[in-house]
Assembly symmetry: none
Homo-oligomer: 225 residues x 2
Amino acid sequence: MDKKTVLIVDDEKNIRILLKDFLEREGFSVLEAQDGRQALELFNEKCEELNLVLLDVMLPELDGWTVCREIRKLSKVPIVMLTARSEDFDEVHGLEIGADDYVKKPVKPTTLVARINALFRRIEPDESKTVMSYDGLEIDDSSHVVKIDCQEIALSPKEYTLLVLLVENKGKVISREQLLNQVWGYNYYGGLRTVDTHINRLRMKLGSKGEAINTIRGFGYKFEG
Amino acid sequence: MDKKTVLIVDDEKNIRILLKDFLEREGFSVLEAQDGRQALELFNEKCEELNLVLLDVMLPELDGWTVCREIRKLSKVPIVMLTARSEDFDEVHGLEIGADDYVKKPVKPTTLVARINALFRRIEPDESKTVMSYDGLEIDDSSHVVKIDCQEIALSPKEYTLLVLLVENKGKVISREQLLNQVWGYNYYGGLRTVDTHINRLRMKLGSKGEAINTIRGFGYKFEG
DNA sequence: TATAATGTTTACAAAACTGTAACAAAACTT
DNA sequence: AAGTTTTGTTACAGTTTTGTAAACATTATA
C-alpha cells in the first residue's frame, strides 16, 4: 500500500496546519493551497500523484464550488468538501457537483481520517478491512485475526467473541449477565463464574494489553480505563 | 444504468415508509427489514441483487454494528449507517467496521439521496473478473478451468463452486451456514458437516495449495492466511 | 483487625469441534 | 441398464475448548 497524497485547500492557516499534522501522522503525504486559483494550479501540476482533495467552500478569489466543478471536469480524484458557516451548508449541491463527501466544520481530525479511509476503501476494494484497534491491539473481524503489536495471536472462539464484545463497548461496563447473554446466548444456563475464567484466559493471552480489561467490582468488566 | 435496490433496516415504521416512498420516487427499488435478524436473513437471501443497505444503529435483537460487520464479512455492498441518539454517534467506529457513510437522524431524504448517489458514482461498474489467481492456483471462471502450476485439475461442481466462493472472499472467514447458503442454495436443508466433507475433498485435490484453506475453529473457513 | 464479599487462578473432566474414512443414495454417462 | 462419478450422511478418533469447583487472593466493611 503506497502513501496517499492529499491536497488541502483552505485559506485559514491554522486549519491547514492542524489537518496537515494529523494527516501526516496517519501516513498521508500532504500538499497545501490557500486559495482557489492556487489550488487549481497545483492540481494541474500534480494531478497524477494526487489521491484526494480536501476542499474548503469559502475561499478567496475562486470559491470551493467552482474549484470542485473544475476538478471534476479534469479528473475523478475524490473530493471532500468542508464548510464552516451553516448558510454555506448546501450538502445536496456540493454532492451533486461532484464532491464525494461533505462535512461541516469544525471537524474532528479522527473523524475526517475515518471518512477519508472509508472513501479509499471504496475505491480500492482490495484493501477493504474492518478493523477495530486500540493501542497496539488490532482486531480484524472479517479475517478473524487478532494482533498485538503486529504479532498475530490465537484465541479460542469464546475468547475471541468476548474480546470483540469488550472492545466494541470500550469504555462501557458490561455485567457478567450481559456477557453471558451476548457471548453464550440468551438461553444459556450456566454459572457466572465461567465469565471470570474466560476473562482470565483472555487476559493471559493478551499479555500486557490484558490490563486494558478492567474489573469493575460488583458490576462487571470494562475495556480500557 | 439499471434500477438500484436498497434495503432499509429500521424498527420505526414511519421512517421506513418515509424513506421508501422517497427512494421509490427517485427510481430505486426498496426492500425493508425491521430488525437485525430479519435484515441478515433478507441479506443472505437477496445478497446478489442488493446495491445498498440503509442501516439504523439502534435495532431490537441484533444491533446495527453487528449487522454491519456480518454484511461486511461476506459482501462489498455499500452500507450507510443511520443513528438517532447522539451517544450512539460513534462515527469513527461505524466507518471502521465497514460503513461507507454515517449519518445522524433526522436526515432529510434529499440529502440522503444525494449521499447515496455520490456513493454509487464512485463505484465502477465491476468488470466481472473471470480469472482469479492465488500463488500457483488459477481459476478461470468463464471456462471453468482450475490450474495448479499450469496443470489443469478436475473438480466436481460443488468443489468448484466452493473454491470460487472461498477465493472470491480470500482473507475473509466464511461460516458453514454462509457456505451452505451460497453453494447449496438458500433453502437447502442439510447438515453442516457436509461442508466439512467437501472442504476436505477440495483440500485433497488442491494438494499443497489446499493449505491455503484455513479452518477457523468455531467460525468457519478462510482462504489464505 | 477480623470478617465478609468479591474476584482470580488452577486443575481436571466433560463437551464440542474438526478431519477423515466408509458407505449408500443420487446423478450422470455411455 | 450398467458403470462411474458425485454427493450427503454417519461414525470414530484426536484435539481443543469449555465449565465447574475449589483453593487462593484481594478488596470492602464492620
